[in-house]
Point group: C2
Chain length 197, copies 2
DNA sequence: CATGGAAATTAACCCGGGTTAACGACACGG
DNA sequence: CCGTGTCGTTAACCCGGGTTAATTTCCATG
């Protein structure tokens, strides 16, 4: 069945992080809920209390900051096989700082963070899985910070196309613009500058 | 002695992260080396192989990205009581992506990451300490990303002064400018705009 | 096939911050 | 006491990207 396939997929990814079999996996499995999303559907909104971790089974999820004056800037894209969550929402009593929205039809698995925390308290293997997850997350955010600090808008665009070609081909230009942190108008100008690609 | 005091300080911080006593602490203690720095001294440079974790005992360390054309943009400041490291350099075979430089006379404790990894493999408590550390690191980077994506240069400056007043009072304006990601000239203009503060 | 709506493009204008350069304020060493 | 260097400020000019708005392309739906 579909459900079994999806949880197995998440399991495989997690086992790599912990470098071995995961004790009490059934606890995770029974806590997972699969959510199907249509393009534009929201998984959660900024400022929700929402201590869940997600795994993308299919599609692309946009993680979006929304400003007071109605603008949206995309923090990250989560594709198939990737986990995501709002770190601030995982802290006790914390709230999300961004929204999650389907960039195309998608299916995700939702898991209460509490389940992972409980497993981590009793199993070193699970503690290690969490440690590695956060390590990788920090690694990604560090890269993003570096790009925002050092690169011009045009360089950010070129690099995004270069390094995430498969992803960018599936996205609307306006979403790429929002991730690059320029307006769609500016992106259109940037693209025109170098017609040789 | 000074050395004992410093390692005790790091111990206290780590025990909070692990929420309890740390087994085999003596292994950490015997691996720690204290480094004293004069203003402008570098702890490591971008692209070094340097799998160490640092704890700031005294002073302020600037973490700096250096561009090909000789410009410097400050990624973060590490003050007293804070840990820092280059995540990319902690991965096996990895290298640092930025430099660390003393913003004023400083003293830091240096610990090979290998020691922490080994402790984490044998003690769940240490695994948890690492997990919490990376969690907090991710949390910080998320905040920084949000500021860079959503705020104007002026807003970034105001917020920095507001939220890190004690730190900013100890820094040269040019370093604040570099962190805010504007030139010193631009910062001077920004400061002039609102003379009421 | 016609039509409404979103996305992408293009043009015109504006503005914040980069760049360069000149200048004053200090600190430091000789 | 006078150089020398660094830092902060100010001015003048430039440019990339924001803003607004008009136009086109492309679907999706009736």
């Amino acid at each position: 069945m579909t459900v079994i396939a999806t949880t197995l997929m998440a399991k495989t990814v997690l086992e790599q992080l912990g470098s071995g079999a995961l004790p009490d996996w059934h606890r995770v499995e029974s806590a997972i809920r699969v959510k199907r999303l249509r393009t534009g559907d929201r998984l959660f909104r900024a400022d929700d209390q929402h201590p869940y971790v997600y795994f993308v089974h299919q599609g692309i999820i946009k993680l979006v900051y929304e400003t007071a004056d109605g603008k949206e800037w995309i923090k990250a894209f989560a594709e198939e096989g990737r986990f995501f969550a709002s770190l601030t929402a995982l802290e006790p009593g914390g709230r999300t700082s961004f929204s999650a929205c389907a960039a195309c039809d998608a299916a995700v698995e939702q898991l209460p963070y509490q389940v992972l925390l409980a497993l981590a308290e009793t199993h070193p293997t699970w503690q290690k899985v969490l440690r590695r997850s956060f390590e990788i997350y920090g690694f990604r955010k560090e890269t993003r910070e570096k790009e925002l600090l050092l690169l011009s808008a045009e360089e950010r665009y070129r690099r995004f196309i270069e390094e995430r070609g498969a992803l960018s081909a599936r996205l609307a230009d306006k979403d790429i613009a929002s991730y690059i942190r320029v307006t769609p108008v500016a992106l259109s100008r940037i693209k025109k500058r170098q017609p040789s690609v």
